[in-house]
């Protein structure tokens, strides 16, 4: 029983008392029959509701991959009642928010669960700001036919989609390529930018000295050079340093930078700091779909007043250079480049 049932319970008890007085004073058969009906209905209603609630299936889906600010995220709430007892009073408590702008409010949707096929309801959310848009079902309350009893069903349904700005880019901007090396650069540590060796090949004029594989060269006649995995694609690295005061500008700047690179048919990586794992993830982007993934991962990370991302990045990779920083809502293009 919930507090919301209390007015109904009081009304119901008052009705029973009223009818009881009627029976007491008038001894009328119809009143007697109605009072019996009053007594029978609540347990029947609660019992049937409990049976039906056990089999109730609630789903939440969003067919969209992403949505742009100012657009509509169309979710679908599905209700299926496979039993023989309809449920008329199902309250689905939804919490929807952009993770960057937590919303303390919730929305209630009161729907029936009719018998037969799944019934779907469209939930069009207006989203205005970039970030991770999340819709979760907080609670499902199933109330009996007479509103005397409410059963709470647990739910952990949560569906998120990123709100990604429209495709904008810089015009005629020069982007330097980046190089990031760890001090103990072991080869092929997956995820670390410059250690993924694709193959060894013979030395060609113009190759960097540091790319010569000295051990292998000693065993062979020719000087062997390490050729890195998609060396040319990996060369651009964006480091988004998002701060709450310049959040929208930062996301837009990152978006424009990324789109500019994609427009130039360049692949790049985005360095995303995972606060919980205390490490950087380098998300490889060579298409718009990859960029969506990058946004998705970026949005999941919390944003503070002051970004410590660059500090952590420079600590881990002290010799990095040519990184495209998005700091203070602006794109900072490094002056020095190694090509």
């Amino acid at each position: 029983m919930k507090l919301r049932n209390l007015p109904y319970i009081i009304t119901y008890i008052l009705c029973i008392l009223l009818f009881f007085l009627g029976v007491l004073f008038y001894r009328q058969s119809l009143l007697s029959v109605l009072i019996i009906l009053f007594i029978i209905l609540p347990p029947l209603s609660i019992y049937l509701t409990n049976i039906a609630a056990k089999r109730l299936e609630i789903t939440l889906e969003c067919p969209q991959v992403n949505v742009c600010p100012g657009g509509i995220a169309r979710y679908t709430l599905g209700v299926r009642n496979p039993g023989l007892i309809p449920l008329l009073n199902i309250l689905v408590e939804l919490k929807y928010e952009n993770l960057y702008y937590p919303n303390p409010g919730v929305s209630e949707i009161v729907i029936p669960a009719e018998l037969g096929k799944k019934k779907e309801f469209s939930l069009p959310f207006d989203v205005t700001k970039a970030g991770m848009f999340s819709v979760s079902i907080e609670r499902i309350l199933v109330t009996d036919f007479l509103h005397l009893y409410t059963r709470e069903l647990k739910s952990d349904i949560n569906v998120m989609i990123p709100v990604i700005p429209d495709e904008e880019r810089f015009e005629n901007t020069y982007f330097p390529k980046a190089a990031v090396e760890s001090e103990d650069s072991e080869p092929s540590a997956e995820g670390e930018l410059t250690n993924d060796i694709k193959q060894l090949r013979e030395y060609r004029p113009g190759d960097r000295l540091k790319d010569i594989h000295w051990k292998q060269s000693a065993r062979s006649i020719d000087i062997m050079v390490k050729e890195y995995e998609t060396t040319s694609d990996l060369y651009f690295l964006i480091l988004p340093e998002l701060e709450s005061s310049t959040l929208e500008e930062g996301i837009n700047e990152f978006n424009k930078t990324a789109n500019s690179l994609l427009f130039m048919k360049e692949s790049f990586r985005v360095a995303i700091w995972h606060d919980d794992g205390n490490h950087f993830e380098f998300v490889k982007v060579s298409s718009r779909a990859d960029l969506d993934i990058a946004f998705y991962k970026l949005y999941l990370e919390p944003v503070g007043e002051v970004s410590e991302v660059y500090y952590r990045f420079s600590s881990l990779y002290p010799e990095m250079y040519g990184v495209l920083r998005i700091s203070g809502g602006k794109l900072l293009i490094p002056e020095r480049s190694d090509d």
């Binding site: 001894r27 029959v33 007594i39 939804l94 928010e97 303390p104 929305s107 009161v110 309801f121």
Partner: protein, 851 residues
Amino acid sequence: MKKEKKKKQKTDPKYLKELELYGAGLSAVSPVEQPGRFYLCFLRAILIFLAAYGMLAAVVTSFDLPFSKLAVGLGIFVLAFISAFLYYNKGTFYIGYLAVFAGFIFFSIYMYLYVNSGYQAFLNEVYNKYSDYFRLSSVREAEEFISNRYLTVTAAMLFMGWFFCILLNITISGYMSLALTFLVTFLPLQVAFYIDIIPPLHYLVMLIAVYITVAVLGRSGHYTLPYRHGKEQQFEHKRRRKKNSFTYLASSGGMLTITLYSLILSALFMLICSSIFAKDFDGRMVSNKVKDRTDEYVKTAMQGGLASLLSRYTSTGGLAKGKLGGVGTVIPDYEPNLYVQFATDASDSVYLKAFTGVYYNDVYTRFLPHSDPDNPAYRMMSEEDLKTADECAPLLNMGKDEYRRMHIDNVDADAEYDYSPYYTYYSTTNRENSKKSYTEGMEKRAREYFTDSFGLIDNAERFDKEDRYILHNSLGEPDSYDLLYIPFSSDAVLHTNPSIPPEYEDMVSNVYLQVPEGLYDALDNFIAEAGLAEVSDPLDTAYKLKQYFMDNFSYTMSPGITPWGRDMIEYFLLDQRRGFCAHYAASSTLIFRRLGIPARYVEGYYISPGDMDEGEALSSDLSSWVSGEDATDEAGVIEVTVTDGSAHAWTEIYLYGYGWLPFETTPPSEGELFDSRLTFLSRFFDLLQQTRRNAGDNSNTTVSNINMPDAKTLSGALGNMNFILRPVLITLGIMILAMLLRLPFAKLILIIRKSLYASRGLYNEALLVEYERLLRLLRSKKLLTIKNPLPRDIENIIKKAASASADTAPDPSALSDLTATVNYSAYSGRELDAAKYTSVITFIKSIRKSL
């Protein structure tokens, strides 16, 4: 419309703020598939039909009236259909209602005679049944213009059906309100149930199904036909603080299912409860204050029509003090007003006079008393006139000198007045002289001529009743007094009174012939109609008037109130022509005056011979009650309880040379030989006493087969609740049994299904049923908690569960085979062979045993 709503929502400042602050907002919710509006209206039509037809047919059938079930059923269905579809959209709502009302009025006018006759036929049957039930002495009878009741009742039912469809459409389609729907249908049903007539149960099934459906749908909120909204808008949006609430407006599937289930439940329920209806309920044997009072109102309505319930002010009898016309029905409560002790021979009635009305004020339709300064006649009467007014009466000659003492205890009558019989000449009351019923001159002469009689007071025998609360008069003293009077009997010979001064008669001519000019025409018309002008002798005129009233008017305690703006006397004489004593006394007074006979209106109490018969005998010793000649035929001293039912009004006419003479013009009630009022009231009173007696005495053998309620104590009341407790317990028992048997029943169904499938060679289905039984077992043992598990999940669960008991663990390969077979049966589309089926079933059974 949708765009407008959406635009409105999007320009809502709160919503815009939400978007600005939180970057997201939910503007609307809609179903992917729109519910059919036609379907929703149709379901409402069904509910309206069930309620309207169920109720009307139940009531009419209860009174054995003939009607065409087909015509009425079809007609009401069409009307319910039309009514429900008024809510289809805004156009049908506004234009449709006008059309429906126009059609209703046209039908009412065109079929007026049929509808009216059918209605009157119904009323007549109701009157008859109620008359039998309550043993009423008189009831109304309505005139039926057309005698073919089959036609007229059908027409009246269609008319009422139309009316109720409109009402129920509002309560169901508009509000889905159980309270309103219940009131609209339950109250008409009470016409039958109140006098223990049980309508056919299938009509009640219809009604109860509607009650359940309306209650469930009304509470769910998914009943609203969104005709007030855009066609696409299927959710109602409310914003409560930080919560947005979206409620689905109409669930067509839910409505249909609930309606069907309610019908089934209602039918089952009525079957269970039919024993209650079969029980011999007899409302007549039920007595308590609430029931008795309701009975009184019901009887009043039966006798005087519903209008009789609409009194401007209540009257339980007692003195009206000249106020006339505002009481539709006098409903005496029969509580004692006076206790009167006197010596009687129980042969003659006694009038205790109190109020004297002089001037008739036609604006307020009331008589003003002597002492009212607003009374214009007051200024015309000197102090001497007022003092001598009551001594100007004819002299009596009864053939013997006899004086009597009377003792009065006032317990609930108006303490302003001195209640005294005619020819009272002394009273021990301490009222000021003007409020006494006799004058100083009368007392003075009595002390001179009837000296001995005063000894009755000096040596009075007292019968004090200590448990009696006596009112206090204006002086703050208990209103309990003795008085001396000369008994007035019907065989007394009246003589002229030479002591009446001529100036008094002049005053009488000036004051007691007053008639408002506005009533001249009405009175003259009545006088001409009754032929009163042709008689010259005042007494002959009075008797002729009394006879005319007896022949052409009727007595009733429920005449109905006088319409606003009409004079009570004019309305009574020309239109109403029925009423109680106040109507006759007031009208007679003005008629006499118009004929030149001075008259005045009097109120007081009337003690009938019947009252004296029922009086309490106090003593047979008359020595301190009667003085003068021996009264050998006296029965003794009695105490009579005078209730408000004995309050009465009459007329005094002035006979020049004689003085004031009381005259009764109130006719007896219909069918009674003499005093209608007495007979009517006594029967009425008897009826109440009967029910009370029955209620109070459970050992009464005449009613021993009926549960006699005694609502005076809760335990007494509850002790008699067996008639309802038994079915309640039986019903609850059935419900508990049903709950307990649910699981075995479900198992049984599965086994039957499996056997049926296997016998037809449908091994896939049979295996899946057996597999479902296995899942149920796992769920009951809390091993399976996930929803929609795959066969692979089940396999893991069984493996895990079996690992605990290595002895009975199933063979892992057989378990994998089971999973594969289930998948095969469910998804391959090919039928399983019998041998495989048998082996898998055996394996499942072994798993079930091991679990």
